[in-house]
Each structure stands twice: as C-alpha cells, then as structure tokens.
Symmetry: C2
Subunit: 197 residues, 2 copies
C-alpha cells in the first residue's frame, strides 16, 4: 500500500477520498448494484486488494460512496447568501435538480435502495433528507424569514415537501411534461411557502 | 366448498368479497407480513383449504387484500359534490387521513412493501396513487376549477403532491407536532393549489 500512496504523493485519507470521488462519478451512469470494487479498481488503476483495504467489502464500499454522494448534495445545495429567501430556495433547489440530472442512474438507484430493504442506506438517506430540509429553517443559512417560523409543525410539513421535491424532480427528468426547469423550481418553492408560511 | 357457501347463503363471489373485507380489517393492526391465510381462516371460521381455493397462495392473498384496500381508499375519498373545490379537496383528504389513521399498521406496511422489492404490490400502489391524484382533474368529480387546468405539467406536480401527502400524513400520525387535523388538511390543500394553479 505504501508504495502506491507514495507514488501519487497522497495521504491514505486523500487517497480514500479520491477513490470515493471516482466511485461517486461511476454512480452517475450506473446503479448501485452495478458498482463493484472491481470496477473501481479498473477505473482507478489500482489493485482490488488495496481497495478492499480501504473499503472492507462491497456493502461498506456502497455505504461510503452513498455517504459521499449525500455530502456532495448537501454541499452543492448550500445557501449562497442571496438576499431574497425565495430566490435562495430556488437556487438550492436548482443545484439539487442539476445534481440529480447529472447523476440520474445512481440517484434513482440510491432512492430505491433506501426505500427497499437496506437499513443502513435508508438511514443515510433519511439523515440527508432531514439535514437538507432542516437547513431551510437555519438562520445561519441567511433565510431569516423561514427561521422565524421554525416550529415542529413547519418542520413536519417541510419534510413532506422534500418527498414532493424528490418525486416531482425524478418524474420531470423522465418526462418534463412541458415544464421548464425554472417553472419547476418556482412551483416547488411556492409549495413550500404555502406549507410553512 | 358448496356446503360452506350454502350454509351462509352466499355466492362464491360474495364469500370471497366478505373474506377480503376480513383480511383488510386484519390489516388495520397488522403488517402485511403478519397477515397469513391461517390467521384469516381462524378469524373467518372456515378451513385453510377453502381459503387456498379462493386465494391461491399467500402472495396472491396479499395482492387481493391490498387491491381491496386501495379500492376502499378510492371509494371513501370520492368527491361528494361539495360546491367549493378546496372544501371538496379537504373532505377527500380528510377521508384519506381517517383511513390511514384507522388502518395504520397495514397501510405503513403496504407502503413499505410497495417501495421495496415487491413489483406486484408496487404496481397496485402506483396505479392507486395515480388514480387518486388524477381524480383531482376530473370534471365529473365536480372540481371544474381543477379540471380547467388539467395539463401534463399539473398532473406531474399533483403526483408529486401525493408523495407529500403520504409522507406528511404518516409523519403526523407518528407525532402530530401540534398540528390539528384541520390545519394539516388546510396546509396540504394549499400546497396543491400553489402547485397547480
């Protein structure tokens, strides 16, 4: 292992992180089931043995890739300090739509795995969805207007809204039904306002 | 078989339908996994052999019970000719909430089964959800205001809204978060208006 990491001058941490990025990239056009350690080894040009060292087994590898994918989604949908809360919300939603567009196969397969029997993926997925919707209410996110109405009831409704967003965005990617990206974002934002204000 | 049906003076059709009702009733407090032909035989006071005659095997039995359950939901949420479309929508939503309240265990387990690996249940469930949301746009349902805006785009958004309704109602049953039934219905109705109008 040390010879490999030395060759590319990366710490084990950096190396693992780079491998995860390749894994998430592979997930853009593949389902989770199609994502194997063998495939990653081919793509990364390193041995399977080393990958097993980093990721344990296929299931642990999938968990690590999915965790990285939801971290990516959380990062790219971060509020950007836009003044208007509705514009801010639409910008975050737009980043989410673009991510799901660019990583369609993997995202669909992640949602299916999480809804199906895989408890570990379900937990990661639900934590991620909760973090994404709870952020709506964070004053630190610059959405003071929404933070002011942070109650258990509005959180419940915002989490239901996340289910709408996911369902509508995946349906829209299959067939946009004549709805532009901008119209979709505006409708989804309007639904949240109707729910929590 | 004929002796049994003769004893209770029911046609095989009526008998099957009565058995399904008992099956759906059992599902109120049980998951689908816990619903066996043996349990139904006990409750209905007839032999397992006769039940296998009606329902084939456990999987066919589950499909029949779930089909009956979604038919029930469709029937009880039927528009009742109330004048105002929003009041009508809230009445239908209220009937749905009451059904899920009264049949909590079975409904949660049906949703899980449909989201998980069971293709046949997933199809029944998705057909049912589509039928329920498409009804929003039926002129015959007395919702002329919504029928007027029936487009592929509003149907896509209404189906996403159904995901919100399901998620929010199940979360609300677990913990109402201080939200009254009336407030929940009003918020869900407002979200649909925001999405499709």
């Amino acid at each position: 292992m040390s010879s490999t990491t030395a060759r590319v001058r990366m710490s084990p941490e950096e190396r693992r992180s780079q491998l995860l990025e390749i894994g998430v990239g592979l997930l853009a056009t593949r389902s989770l089931d199609e994502l194997s350690i063998e495939l990653l080894a081919d793509q990364a040009g390193i041995s399977r043995g080393l990958l097993y060292h980093y990721f344990g087994n296929k299931s642990d590898f999938h968990v690590a890739v999915v965790r990285k994918a939801v971290e990516d989604i959380y990062a790219i949908t971060a509020p950007r300090g836009l003044g208007d809360p509705v514009e801010q919300l639409k910008a975050s939603l737009g980043a989410y739509v673009d991510y799901v567009t660019a990583n369609h196969a993997g995202y669909v397969s992640l949602v299916r795995a999480a809804r199906g029997g895989n408890e570990q993926l379900r937990e990661i997925y639900e934590d991620s969805r909760r973090a994404l919707t709870d952020r709506v209410f964070e004053k630190a996110a610059g959405l003071e207007e929404f933070a002011a109405i942070d109650t258990p009831a509005t959180r419940l409704l915002a989490r239901g809204w996340a289910a709408l967003v996911e369902d509508a965005v995946l349906a829209w990617l299959d067939d946009d039904a004549g709805l532009s990206r901008e119209e979709l974002l505006a409708k989804l934002a309007a639904a949240l306002i109707a729910l929590i204000i």
